[in-house]
């Protein structure tokens, strides 16, 4: 995998072509390729532009949140608050551009603020998560559980639980717009994935993230500013959740604080796990998360397009997660 950060020790490398190793190392890519081939064979109308677009748009929010989750998990943490932060960003944006929070001098100002403020608020809440983890020393799962519980409540209190409906093409470009026929959100997603993959592999910050996840104490002793790196990682996760929240409400032309981002933390974690990132930290692949999300999405699409009920697709998803993680374990034996 292109950006798999840790390589196996040389002793494991045999000159012969080792089927098992290829299967476990590149399992996610092989599974994705197989899924696409199977679909070409059995799913009607699979090889169309529309199918591609449908699948890309459905997977965008999960991938964008998943990138942040990958980074957090790479440090050995977890972020359960992503769905709630999406709801907060999604609730704030319409309040701003509909002028309910404060009077707007000009509609364009409202739209600009509606992009910036919710994302910054989500980033600030992400920073708060990081602060709880690093300064108050609360375990990540509990620290982010606080906002998981309270965050959606805050979004609901903002909007009084009401659905906010709107029709504002200039704002909704983020979810509905197209550039050369490609959904803008897909371009945004690819940009974020590439940037994060590059950062994880090529920058000092990225290497520090992996060092912390590998062995936090050793990282601290070798002079890495552990607390500050972790805080930035949670901040990034919050920021990306905010962007995902905006995409979801733009796509739906409506913001429902009760539903935006519901269950997203689990989808994102599943994508990260299937993609081959170690859940205990230290080894991470952002491209893998993209592949993992695509696999989960494609399995669901394949089943639905062939008349299998959505509920059965859930069971299949569960099986994929367990299988993927189990296969990865085999490669680490």
């Amino acid at each position: 995998m292109a950006d798999t950060a840790a390589t196996l020790p040389p002793a494991h490398r045999s000159p012969r072509f080792d089927v098992r190793r290829v299967l476990t190392r590149h399992g996610a890519w092989i599974a994705l390729a197989l899924l696409i081939l199977v679909n070409f064979a059995i799913t009607p109308n699979f090889a169309t532009w529309q199918t591609l677009n449908v699948n890309l748009t459905q997977v965008c929010a999960i991938v964008i949140v998943g990138v942040g989750m990958t980074l957090v998990i790479a440090t050995g943490g977890i972020d359960l608050s992503v769905g709630a932060l999406m709801a907060i960003a999604g609730a704030l944006a319409p309040l701003i551009f509909l002028g309910k929070l404060f009077p707007l001098p000009h509609p364009a100002v409202g739209i600009a603020l509606a992009f910036v403020v919710p994302v910054l608020v989500a980033a600030a809440l992400g920073w708060f998560n990081g602060w709880l983890v690093t300064r108050i020393r609360i375990q990540p799962i509990i620290a982010t559980l606080v906002l998981f519980i309270a965050g959606r409540g805050i979004a609901q209190v903002f909007t009084n639980g009401n659905l906010q409906v709107f029709n504002l093409p200039s704002f909704q470009f983020i979810g509905l717009g197209r550039i050369f026929g490609i959904p803008f959100q897909a371009i945004l997603m690819i940009t974020i994935v590439v940037a994060a993959a590059w950062m994880l592999r090529r920058t000092v910050f990225g290497r520090q993230i992996l060092a912390i996840g590998g062995n936090e104490r050793a990282a601290r002793l070798s002079g890495i500013p552990v607390a500050s790196v972790k805080q930035r990682v949670y901040l990034i996760s919050g920021l990306l959740s905010g962007i995902a929240g905006l995409i979801v409400i733009a796509r739906n032309s409506a913001a429902d604080a009760n539903l935006v981002g519901l269950g997203m933390e689990l989808d994102a974690i599943a994508a990260v796990a299937v993609g081959g990132t170690l859940l205990t930290g230290g080894r991470a692949t952002v491209i893998g998360t993209l592949v993992g999300a695509l696999i989960i999405q494609l399995v669901r699409y394949t089943l639905l397009a062939n008349g299998v009920p959505d509920a059965a697709a859930l069971v299949a998803k569960a099986a994929i997660i367990v299988l993927a993680v189990w296969l990865q374990r085999q490669s680490h034996r």
């Binding site: 375990q139 559980l145 519980i149 689990l266 599943a270 069971v315 569960a318």
Partner: protein, 324 residues
């Protein structure tokens, strides 16, 4: 820090949740009429008994250093199975829901102890699977229970003037408390959470005990599902969303460390009641008419409460480390 204030700190850590519960009850008693009236007390107990069952299983799982995210959808599956079997009588409904929960628990136990996959990711997967099974069995809608066989008594009935679901919760908590404190199984649970490798090297049956803990958690969640179905007259495949995190919050508020090895069954019950009472007090406060906080505030307040408790816990453990 001197020894006395350290003792004091540790005391607050251990009994803090009980103190907070007593304070909250006193507050409600002084402020609202009928707060401690039989009707309110019994309905709070009746409603929260489901959460209490789920939290008890979670408490055991967390003490071993694990986590069980599947309890919410397991409860949903249990409620659907119980509702489907309720026309055949009370026992089939009860045992069916319990069996459904045990089945999910067995899956968790197998994957975690045999395939060696992290509890977090295992139970995340079985959460999806249980939810899918519940939706398939229920055909994507709620399943009404039969009112003719007396099944609903399990949720709505009283025994000796006390709600039956509360009896069930009370008995399981008594059993749970006895098991953790006075059986070798319970001591092994604590030992695994303290240091799993050490427990294994001492010859304790770590894998078997862990498997049993997840099995129990599944069974208790199934039982909670039975009560859910009986209380609301329907098996609800989409209920139970977020129960797992409510249960984790209750366990943590009760002072059980998420790192395992330490924990108390009684404090977990206090944690459940504390979180449940926050909602109850919010309703009473709205009834007074001074303020009008929507139901949405309850999750904000619960979150703030959780934050307060874990922040205090983190402080305490820092002090303890420094002193040690």
């Amino acid at each position: 820090m001197n020894a006395i204030s350290l003792k004091l700190f540790q005391g607050i850590g251990r009994y803090g949740v009980l103190l907070a519960l007593v304070a909250l009850i006193l507050f409600g008693w002084l402020r609202y009429e009928n707060f401690l009236g039989a009707f309110n007390v019994l309905s709070v107990l009746r409603y929260n008994s489901m959460f209490a069952l789920v939290a008890l299983g979670m408490c055991f799982v967390i003490i071993t250093g694990g986590i069980d995210l599947s309890v919410g959808s397991t409860a949903a599956l249990g409620s659907v199975v119980a509702a489907l079997l309720s026309p055949y009588g009370v026992m089939p409904g009860l045992l069916g829901g319990l069996a459904a929960g045990l089945a999910v628990g067995a899956c968790n136990a197998f994957i975690i102890t045999r395939l060696n996959i992290l509890p977090f990711i295992t139970t995340l997967a079985t959460m999806l699977a249980a939810s899918g099974c519940a939706l398939l069995l229920a055909n994507n809608q709620s399943v009404s229970v039969s009112y003719e066989t007396g099944f609903v008594e399990l949720g709505q009935g009283d025994f000796l003037g006390f709600p039956i679901p509360a009896w069930i919760a009370l008995i399981t908590y008594l059993l749970g408390s006895l098991i953790i404190n006075f059986t070798s199984f319970g001591r092994t649970v604590l030992a695994i959470g303290g240091n799993e490798d050490a427990a294994r090297l001492m010859g304790l049956p770590a894998q078997r005990v862990k498997a049993l803990v997840y099995l129990a958690s599944g069974g208790l969640a199934g039982l909670a599902g039975v009560i859910l179905a009986a209380q609301f007259g329907a098996g609800q495949p989409i209920e139970g969303v977020g129960w797992e995190l409510f249960a984790i919050a209750a366990v943590v508020v009760g002072g059980t460390l998420l790192t395992g090895g330490v924990g108390s069954v009684a404090s977990t019950l206090a944690g459940v009641l504390l979180l449940g009472l926050i909602f109850n007090i919010l309703n009473f406060e709205n009834g007074l008419g001074w303020i009008s906080l929507s139901a949405y505030w309850q999750s904000v307040i619960r979150g703030a409460f959780l934050l307060l408790v874990v922040a205090i816990q983190a402080r305490l453990s820092m002090h303890t480390e420094e002193a040690a």
